[in-house]
Structures are given as C-alpha cells and as structure tokens.
Symmetry: C2
Subunit: 572 residues, 2 copies
Amino acid sequence: MNFSGTTKERTPGSSAPKLKIYTLSGTESVTKNLTVYEYGDDIILVDCGVGFPDMDQYGVNVVIPDFTYILENSHKIRGLFITHGHEDHIGAVPYLLRELNIPIYASKLVQGFLNERVSDRPFKDLAGKIKFHLFSPETEEVTLGVFRVSAFCTNHSVPSSTGLAISTPEGMVLHMADYKIDWTPVLDPPIDLGRISELGRKGVLCLLSDCLNVTTEGYSKSEMDLNDTFSGIFKNGYGRQILITTISSNIARMFQIIDAAIKSGRKIVLAGRSIDQSVSVARRLGYLPFADDVFVKDGDSSKYKQGDLVYIIAGCYGQEGSALARFSRGEHDTVKLVDNALVVFSADPNPPGVEADVEKVMSALTLAGAEVLYSKIQNNLHVSGHGTRGDLTTIAAITKAKFYIPIGGTITRMRAYTNMIGELGIGKDRVFECMEGDCVEFYNGRASKGQKIETKPVFIDNNGTDEVNPIVIRDRDQLSSDGVFVVVIPASQSGQFYPEKVEVVTRGFIYVKASKELMDKSKQFIAKIFDKGMTRSKDWQDLKRKLESRIEDFLRKETGRRPMVIVHSITV
Amino acid sequence: MNFSGTTKERTPGSSAPKLKIYTLSGTESVTKNLTVYEYGDDIILVDCGVGFPDMDQYGVNVVIPDFTYILENSHKIRGLFITHGHEDHIGAVPYLLRELNIPIYASKLVQGFLNERVSDRPFKDLAGKIKFHLFSPETEEVTLGVFRVSAFCTNHSVPSSTGLAISTPEGMVLHMADYKIDWTPVLDPPIDLGRISELGRKGVLCLLSDCLNVTTEGYSKSEMDLNDTFSGIFKNGYGRQILITTISSNIARMFQIIDAAIKSGRKIVLAGRSIDQSVSVARRLGYLPFADDVFVKDGDSSKYKQGDLVYIIAGCYGQEGSALARFSRGEHDTVKLVDNALVVFSADPNPPGVEADVEKVMSALTLAGAEVLYSKIQNNLHVSGHGTRGDLTTIAAITKAKFYIPIGGTITRMRAYTNMIGELGIGKDRVFECMEGDCVEFYNGRASKGQKIETKPVFIDNNGTDEVNPIVIRDRDQLSSDGVFVVVIPASQSGQFYPEKVEVVTRGFIYVKASKELMDKSKQFIAKIFDKGMTRSKDWQDLKRKLESRIEDFLRKETGRRPMVIVHSITV
C-alpha cells in the first residue's frame, strides 16, 4: 500500500499548506459534534449539534459548540455537511446560521427537520433563508475549494444517515459519525460496504469513526430484529389501551409500530409535539407511506374504543414536561390512562443521566394501574443505532486507513478503540485520540498533532436563545447549595453608615420563620462590626469585601452552611 | 398447610390486637430502610438507614426516615434490629438514637461500624452510650414483648448479613433484606437454606424479601468467581503501579485483594478515610487476619517501589472529594500517578445516578496516562450482592409463605416480584406492594392493607446534622435555575417611598457588567410603577406581592428568565 500515492511529493516547508482536521467540538463529550476540515484557504465543516448540560450547569438548556474559530475564518468556510438528523449533529445549526449563513449539504430528511425547527420561535427569522443543497449517496460529488465530497449509505437510528468520503490534496478521508452495520434495516438500504471497501482499496488516509459502543462485544443487532415485537404486543394486548414511547427521530421504529398496528386493526394517535412534528416531516417526505385515515387526531382519541388505537407518545427518557410524563401523572389534556393499560418503552434502556427520570415515570405508571414493558423485563424492545466492537472492527479493517480518529465517544471509549486498532495489528500510534479543539495535521502521508484551538462551552439558557455567562452559572451553583444572604446597609450622602438600621433578606439558606434567633443574632453581629470603627470608609468596595467575608465566617460557624453573602449599601 | 396453625382462633373485634407491619421508609426509594413491627403495646424496628437526595434536592447531604410515628409511640419501642452494615440500613441510627436511645441488636461488625461513626463529629455525643446487644445466628433468640426474634445467615456484599425470623402472635414472619444465595462466599458461611426450609415447613405467615434484582434472569454470581481476578491483575500488571477501588464496606472483596496481593509480593496501602476506617474495624474484629507488616501507611508509600504495592482506594462511584477523584486530578497529598499505572474499578458498574461522575474520574485517569479496567471491558471485576430472579424464586418457594412483601426495590421491581410470585402458581393477591408508610395487618391468618402512616422525607444538610426545611429546598431550586433579583426600596418612617432611590442586587440571573442597559431599564420600570400612585400603601405585604409579580413579568418579557424576585423596603 502506498498511502501517499494520491499526493504529489512536495518540498516540505512551514508555508506549505497541510490538511488540518480539528475535532472542534463533541469528541470527548459525545454530543455537540462539529468537525473542521481545513486546507489553505478552504474550510468545510461536518455536523453542528447541541450538547446537554451537566447537572451543575444550572438553568442551561443546551450547550453549543464554540464558533469563535469559524467566525474568525469566515472567509474560508465553503459549506457545512450534515451526516444525519440527530440533535447532537444538527441542533446547533440555527445558532451558527444566525452568525454566518453558509450553504448546507444535507439529506431531504435533515432539511425537513431543520425547516421544521426554524418554522417557529425562536428561530423564525431563519425560515426560508437556509441555503440548502441536497446531498445524499444518490447526488453528485460536491467540489468546495480543494475538497471533493461524496456521501455513502450507512445505518443508524434515523433514516438516510451517511458517511462522507472527503477527497483532499493529502488523500482520502472517511468521516463516519454514528453508524452500525445493518444487513436488514427497515427503511434504508444496508450500509454500502462495497463502496467503503473500494475506497479502502484505493487508499484511505484517515478514518474518523464512531467509537461509542466499542466496549460492547460482538456485532450490533438489526432493526429488523424488532419486527415481530410490535405485532406480538398488539396480539397479547388485544382490547387493551396501548401506548408506545420511542425517540421522535426514529422513523424506522415508527414504521414498524404503524405497520404492525394497521395489521392488528389499530389506528395511530401521535401524542407529544416532537413525535407529531417528526412524523409529519417523515410523512411529507415519503418515509411513512401510510394513508391519512390510519391516523387519529390526539383530541379525537376519546371517540374510539381504546383497544382500537395505539398511541405513539413522546417522553421515552422520562422528560418532566413530556406527553408521557404528564400522562403518567394524570395531567395529559386528551389522553387518560385506562385501567390495565400497557405502556411500552421502545428506547435505549440506559441513556446516560436520565435513569432517575425514567424510573419516576415508570413508577407513576405502575402505581396508576398500567403494565409497563421495558428492556429489563422483555427482550427485543430496542436495538442500538451504534455499532459494537464487531461493526467497528469491520469498518477499520476494510478501509485499511493509514490513520484513525475515534469520534463520538469519551476518552475511555477512544482508548478502547485505540486498543481495538492495536489488536488488528495496526500500530496504536496510528490512532489520534482527540479532545475538543485538538488538531491532527496531515502532510505528505504523515500525520501529527497540530496546534490546538482553545474552545469554551457556550451555554444557552432555558428560553432557547441567549447565552448564559459562566460566572452566572457559577453563582447559581453557589445559590443552589446554600442560598443567598443579602445585607442592606443604609448610608447618608456623606458616607455615614447606619448599622442599627441594617436589614437582611435571605432565601434558600434557612427557614426564616423558624430562625428568628439567628436573624437577630446576625443583625447584632453586623452592628458590632460597625461599632469597631467601620462606620466610615473611603473605599466601599474594600469595606464590602471585608464585611462579606466576616459575615460568611459568622454564618458558617453558626449554621455550617455557606450561603452567598452580598452586602449592599443604599444611600438615603 | 395450615398457615394459621400457630395462632389460636380468637373473636375478631376492632379492639383485638393485630400484627401490623409498616414499611415506614425505604421500600419505594430503595434506600433509607426502616420497617416497624407492631402488636398491641409492643413495637420492634428493623434497620434504620439513610437515603440519598434527588438531583433537585439542593444542599441536601442525606435523607433520613421520618421518625414521627416512632417518637409518638416511644413507650412501645422495645428495640432495633439491624440486618447488615450498609449505609442504607444503619446510616440513620445516630439520628434516631439522639431522639430515643433504644437497645440495638446487631452483629459485631455493625456495632464496629456504628461505634466508628459516633467516634467523631457530629455524633461524638453518642460515643459509648449506645446500648448494643450482640445478635447473630450464633446468639440466643431474643424476646422483646410479644416478639421472639432470631437471626439466620444470608449472603450479601458485606459480611455477617442476616435474615430475621420474627415470631409473632399471628405467626412467623421472615425479614430478608438485601441478600443473595452464595454457595461459595468469601468470609461468611453460605446462606442457611436449611433453617429457612425448616421455618417454611413449620409455616411462615409472611416473607419480606429483597426484590431489587428481580428483573435480572437466572441465579446470581458467587463472590468466589472473583478469586482469580486479582491474582491475574497482579500478574499482568507486574512492576506497575496498581490501584483498586471498591466500596468500603465490602470486606470480603478487601480480603480477596489483600490475599492475592500478598501472594504476588505486594504490600497494601489504604487510601481514603472510608476505606481506612472500614478496614480498621474489620481487622480489629478478625475479619481480615493479616499481619501488620502487610500494610504500608499512606504517607510512607513513596518510600516503596510502586510495583511492590497495591493501593485500595476510596471513590469507586466517582465521588468528587474522594481519594480516587483527587488522585485522578493529581491533587492527592501522598499518592501520585506513575506513568502506565493500572486502575481497577471493582464495583457496581451501573450505580444509579453516578454514571457521569464515574466517567469523569475514568476520563481524567485515562488522560493522565493510566490504564483503566472496568466491567464493560473486563469480566469478573464485580459481582452484585443482590439475588437475581433465581435466588428470589428459591427463597419464595422454600419459605412457602402465605403472604409476601417485596422490599428494597422501586414499585416497578415490586410489580416484577408480584409477577414472579404469580408464575410460582401463588395468587398475586398474596403479595402486598407497599409504599412508604403503608401498613399490612395480619389477623387470624388473613392479611389486608391497614391504615397508612403519612410520612415526609427528612433532609439533612451538608454539615451532616441539621434538618433542611422543604421550603428552603424549593427556594434553592428556583435560585439554581434563574438566580435572584432583589429590589430595595427606601421608605420614610411615615411610609413614604422613594422610588427614585431604588437599588437592585442580582446574582445568577444575568451578567450585570454586560447588562447595564437592562439594569437601568429595570430601575426605570420600578420607578414608573410607583409613579402610578403606588408610593403609599397601608398594606405593605400586599404591595410587595404586587410589585414582585409585576417585576417578574417585566423580567420574563425582557429576558425570558424567571429569577426569584424579592422586593424589600428599608425604613430610613
């Protein structure tokens, strides 16, 4: 194999362009994916997703990639390619487009999802303005600057997922975000291993590969494995109210549910905004070719016998405001739980960080009299969209890439991928484990770590539009733990303080009604500090800091708690 | 079978005593276990543990059972039996003893753990005052009022775990908290199935049984299955720095690690307070019969070649302040990571709610150059202490109990246990799924749900002693999401307000330095409200509420955020 065969030998020099691949966002945190391909004056981007806040990032709705590098190099950006329609790959597109309206290369389905997203607040200003280019395994290769990009079919838990073959002056790079090998997928053709092998035979410089499920042995299961699941559920649940919850973008799963429902004589009710929108887009684009009369409007469901319906309901991760959570609490407007109802969780059984929420919803359903089916007690309710070790080994082996960059997994998964490459007899030094902002440079068939871009997470607040300053989040962290203790000190125009008139306002610290004694003691303590000659100060900021520190110590000693203490002077 | 054979037939009547079993705390939430057995004027308690706060219970360290019913009936309480030495079964004992110093019936090990707990703050006042009675499968039956109680050996992930045979005027009740069937345990004898069968043959009125792992098929694994694990790790890791983390109460696991270490020529370093204390208690009581020179003091470890040591280190759940977390960040005082270190997680691979913390520590270790072994990539690093479906079926079948109360699992697990009993051909109506405070009454061989005790969770704050009022926690929840916005309005003695002198203090809401405009606009808005005739009010509380509501609306419209608004008037 001559990996650099596609590249002319050039004289090295610091000014000669190199191919740079930046994992700008997403690798280590799994979500908010964004990869930058740069060569000279050309940049293309792959994916632009959102991530989800850590537990201590209070009041944050989503986290988006740091666009600083992209905006600083806006003149070089030729376009954005989207691999598939999941939130962690498309969710941050509107935020980017507001800053820089670059062309987007994506499947019909991704375009549909994005159009739906900008059809309403807060992104309505983008409606009709997105510069879409249809990009799929069926479309022509796209040339953007030095890059020539084509798509090939992969399999994942949303239809029309693709891998990218990116031809660069340094050689061919394959970008394979979330994928698995599925020989019997439901709506898609199987992954195009023929094309991938052919690319491998011609020479692949680098493979960027999903690594999320590398620690799971063997090959992944096929979507088709669930085909008998739903007809079985409808048969065993004859006459009963049945609700099935799954992730809204899993159109193939919807197909299986609807197909089995029709054959069992049940009509479909879509409950929950995300499910409704997603099915609406998929039907418009021909992914769900079922007649209109198969669907019953949410509000009309009470007119039918419950045994003649099946609800596809949003909220498989137990989200508090979701249709399923409201249903479980008896708070859903139109769908009411009927005794002996059957609720089926057809979703990832171990989604990170949501176990407690799912358990809460399942418990409420069980207590309300429903039977709940979930992966722990019944097989074949869900298959993952991510390839396991067997799938990942196959792709690594047939691409025969010279270098590897595992993506879409934490560092522990990347390390396991590196070990997997080692077991294939390929040197582990061919694998680059990249953290956010890391760069791999390719030049003359060689690769090395380049200069990292410093990035910071960008927090978007609960209203979905504004950035939240990290200092504000840090303050919320302190407020959440021990509350706030505000001391207001009146002062005269001339700077004379009136410590005997100090007032205290506190919340989230102690229950004031039960703690009059402590409040009185606090006021006395503050007055006493002033007695010791602090009633005048030229430097208010300095005095304020000293007072806050003294009061913090006092409260910690008295209560063991550390509220945020704010001393404020009011001039009267 | 004549289940009521041990009971004399009596005339029923509302005044005739019944046996009442209250699952006062713990069943639905898994943790903070406390069961009440009541008959006439006699009450005995079983277990008294802590629970852990939900994510939105801010500033809460632990949750303890609601002792109200116990304190109201303090004259009836004859004693507290402890089944085993886990936090969720013993952790709340000091809190209860402070209110009511009742006799405690427990194994040597549980006594050791509790004595260690009260040897230091905040429970030092209890040191030496606990009224312990040794209670184990080897000790005599204990008679407390109408109850006669004996212990039998079970198996779990802490040594000397027991089941209780509680003889009552209504019949025999078996209380089997966390257990599994292990024929080759490490420090204990195998579970005493002979005794349990014998009790079953004589007639068991009710079985209270662990149900946590009922959704896992088959029989549980034995502790012995890990015997070759550690010698293998020491062999493969020859010469390398090795750290193993496990839960501190798992003394059998410690035994296996220490035994294998000695045979591999390594000495032991205990890192972390919980591990140190637990091993110290276990050694003192003879559970870990190894010579003193096997152990190297934490501070002396740098004097040894790292290949000659093994660290048993606290923090297997990624706890932020733990020895392992500090080690992973390079912040541990005495233990420093050496290149190519091997860190082994010998613990529950899927502890609820801590996945993100574990991932964080594993990532930090990997990035720092360590190899991390965990259950997903290597078998036999951990076995659970809870029996799976096979174990639970065996116990249910051999006790042949007339009634069943599944404990130690959420309602979804209880329901699965009920279904398991159904599959045994026993009527599902023989199973009582009990939420916290629920009561099952037994009378003349019949059982029914009795009157529930209303309970509330009791929150203990981060300093480990004081209760946190639920209102304070609710305030912290709001503060954590959008911060606080305090408006201070000066007023004269006569009730005249000075709206032009209003001051605003805010934290966790917006970044003030970047939002001068909004702050100015807010002050103008407040002044304007007053312009419209609100500068005087007889009813300050009413005015305050109106102002807060108006300001909340204003801020939500301006920013989309909902900070806690507090209007405070200061008289000058």
